[in-house]
Symmetry: C2
Subunit: 239 residues, 2 copies
Amino acid sequence: MTGTLETPGALTVIPVTGLGEIHRGGDLARHIARHAALADGDVVVVTQKIVSKAEGRVVALDPEDPNERERLIGSEAARVLRRRGALLVTQTKHGFVCANSGVDFSNVERGFAALLPEDPDRSARRIRDGLRAAVGVEVAVVVSDTFGRTWRRGVVNVAIGCAGVGAILDLRGTTDSFGRELQATEICVADELASAAELVMGKAARIPVAVVRGVDRGWLRTGSIAAEVVRPPAEDLFR
Amino acid sequence: MTGTLETPGALTVIPVTGLGEIHRGGDLARHIARHAALADGDVVVVTQKIVSKAEGRVVALDPEDPNERERLIGSEAARVLRRRGALLVTQTKHGFVCANSGVDFSNVERGFAALLPEDPDRSARRIRDGLRAAVGVEVAVVVSDTFGRTWRRGVVNVAIGCAGVGAILDLRGTTDSFGRELQATEICVADELASAAELVMGKAARIPVAVVRGVDRGWLRTGSIAAEVVRPPAEDLFR
């Protein structure tokens, strides 16, 4: 999207509480709508885990069998990039590079593992469409997951899918306060929205959804993590 | 820090406007205090650029001489990791891995470049101490810069220094909602705070400071990006 340089106002990041356990086939949008007072222009950030559960992307797995674990991670990978002990850094079929193909063994019942959604942009679009149908609001949706990074310790929440908000804010061609053309001006606002949301989620506090209210209206357009954020291997200097 | 699992409330992210140009030797804390109504527990996110300017980390540079540019980037680097065209990915003396050693040619006067602060954690402590002295508030401070990432397009705002807030929230040893010990539970909240702040800053809109209000009080402790976030090369799988 073309960047707007107007001074934006304050943002509010609101946790959505009381969602409880999410079950396969559940209408996630309707469920979120029951627990959040949404307004037009809100960005609804939904953690991958509940999206995967609602979409049935949960598989049985013997937690005591390391081979089964590794087979599952491999089946979700397009390529294994690095390995250290039990940690595999893989490139998923979506093109994400993350630990263990995004397969997650926490916050699911023992004996099961959650896989990433097949197409997280599509998941985001469905939730957005569902929220419009349920309560008539025009919101954006970001599906998020916590990823590790090269060179920096700790994980941060990033966007793996989005709808109704551009993933990248492109300020190229605009000038700085000295009239000089800006460098490094493609800002991944989708990842920043996911990170902002994580600050109110709490890892184990069953807060899988947060609302970011007050974002620049100019950012609200068709968006896609797959098309805008996933960097093709040929462009990448570290793989 | 040990993680708190209490449900946190909403956060507010507030842009600080009207700061104008920052000059070498200026009392940055006092200047910020004049433009922001700060409260105890606030996290004040300050972009590297104005910290560098106040600290005199701005050097003259012939913008037409590519050799001079590269010499400067090299002098700020401990190691060059990759090179593509005019882009150098370097490890700085602080241990950050970023484009062009963090040397920045935008939002400074033509013929000059801004370097990263010598010790961004110290910069954050000074601003925090200065704000306490100026207006008697106990706030946390994060010094931020926008960094590119491997595998994902676009830059995001990250923390290069902090004071009064832990960089990493460590939830290891706590259990998920199924009573299972959590994986991937070191969350880099300092980076997430920087990213949240960026959403209200606008790249060229002269908003170099934002306040994040409402963070979990349990996060407020002595913190350090150098000690907590910078990953030693031996730990790193991609360098």
